[in-house]
């Protein structure tokens, strides 16, 4: 089950998702399940739900909705997505990723994805979304040289 609705065209979401160091117990868990599947899922029916680079191109309200549904369906949500830098060493990777994303055709500022991406950054990236969705960060692990992060999220 690897649907990733609305991902920008040609964006290497699957490649990036494969590079995430998922905990071994979560390797078989749903990856980027579609919203209707999350809606239909039994509450707490899954041990894990995995989200990989599936939020940064969504309008923040939709992103929060996905996170809330995921945390309802899974007892733990593992979310990997782009983030703001926290260390000096992360700055080059973050700046590079931001430049790449800005130049991605589906994420140009005039496109829906670009508007959503601007809002995503303005609201603090993945941790901002998680905060607004009322979720607790249990652990974080930097990815892609610090340009992204893997969060373990709970209600």
């Amino acid at each position: 089950m690897a649907e990733a609705p609305f991902a920008p065209r040609f964006f290497p979401q699957a490649v990036l998702a494969r590079r995430v160091p998922w905990p071994s117990a979560a390797l078989g868990a749903s990856l980027n399940p579609a919203r209707d599947r999350l809606l239909a899922a039994e509450a707490g029916g899954a041990a894990y739900i995995r989200l990989a680079y599936a939020l940064f191109y969504l309008p923040p309200d939709e992103g929060m909705d996905v996170l809330r549904l995921a945390v309802r369906a899974g007892r733990e949500v593992l979310a990997a997505d782009f983030k703001w830098p926290e260390r000096n060493l992360e700055l080059p990777a973050c700046l590079l990723v931001r430049a790449l994303l800005r130049s991605w055709p589906g994420l140009w500022p005039t496109r829906r994805g670009g508007v959503a991406l601007t809002e995503y950054w303005a609201q603090g990236g993945l941790e901002g979304l998680a905060r607004r969705a009322g979720l607790r960060v249990a652990a974080r692990r930097p990815l892609l040289g610090g340009a992204a992060v893997l969060l373990r999220l709970h209600q």
Binding site: W84, P85, E86, N88, L91, W121, A122, G124, G125, R131
Partner: protein, 277 residues
Amino acid sequence: MGAGLPCAPPRRTSRAMKPDISQHEAWFAAYAARERAREQGDPAPMDLKIRHTMAVLDNARRMTESERFAPALARACLLAALYHDVARFEQYLRYHTFRDRESCNHGLLGVKILKREARLAGENAHTRRIVLAAVGLHNRFALPGRLPREMELAAHVVRDADKLDILRVMDEHLAGPGPYSPTVVLNLPDDPALAGQAVLRAALEGRVASYADLRSVNDFRVLLNTWIFDMHFAASRRQFVEDGHARRLLEGLPANAAYGPARAALLARLEGAAARG
């Protein structure tokens, strides 16, 4: 206005137009209390940061009033001062240290927290940019060369205000009765025989000394006093002298061959600044 700022800042405010940031102050107090409650060990370091933040805000307020900044710029400066160390709580909770090298850049983390918490959502875009830049840059050794003027002014206000309160913290700590905490003096040895030549040279040449050149606690006393060369406003230079912390730190130095010349030069500088008023 200080060195490096060729143009006068926007002036026009009056005492009747003091920026009201009370809602931000209330949020900060609640946030700090919440984060403090999450600490399962010793929360005392967080208390120090709360007190430091309020002191930096007071210093910044004094500067913006004395320099008579326009209300919008004064507001941005005060918000930046209030939020400059907002990341210290999360930094301490996550890493149990305030040392950026061993944890994260607390300026960058502060920007992230302000965005995550939507703290500046009610401010206009110009104010938001100034505050975020000043918070993000306040802990850099030097500011980037070409910053927009108001951003540069706000960053200087925060950096001057921050340094003035660090002087207080260090003076109170080093003058205290008990043995001082190694953490506060960056784990430097208190050995009068260890003198960092680069630090002493910077003091004699009228430059800010670098942390990387510190070899002892006495070097640290000298370094703190070289900050007078990096105060950007008349108000901050005046406070640097009038608070008395800088003088007390210098008076704790040995008047020997190693430290004597730097001690005398810095004391003369303080006296000169005091005489100029």
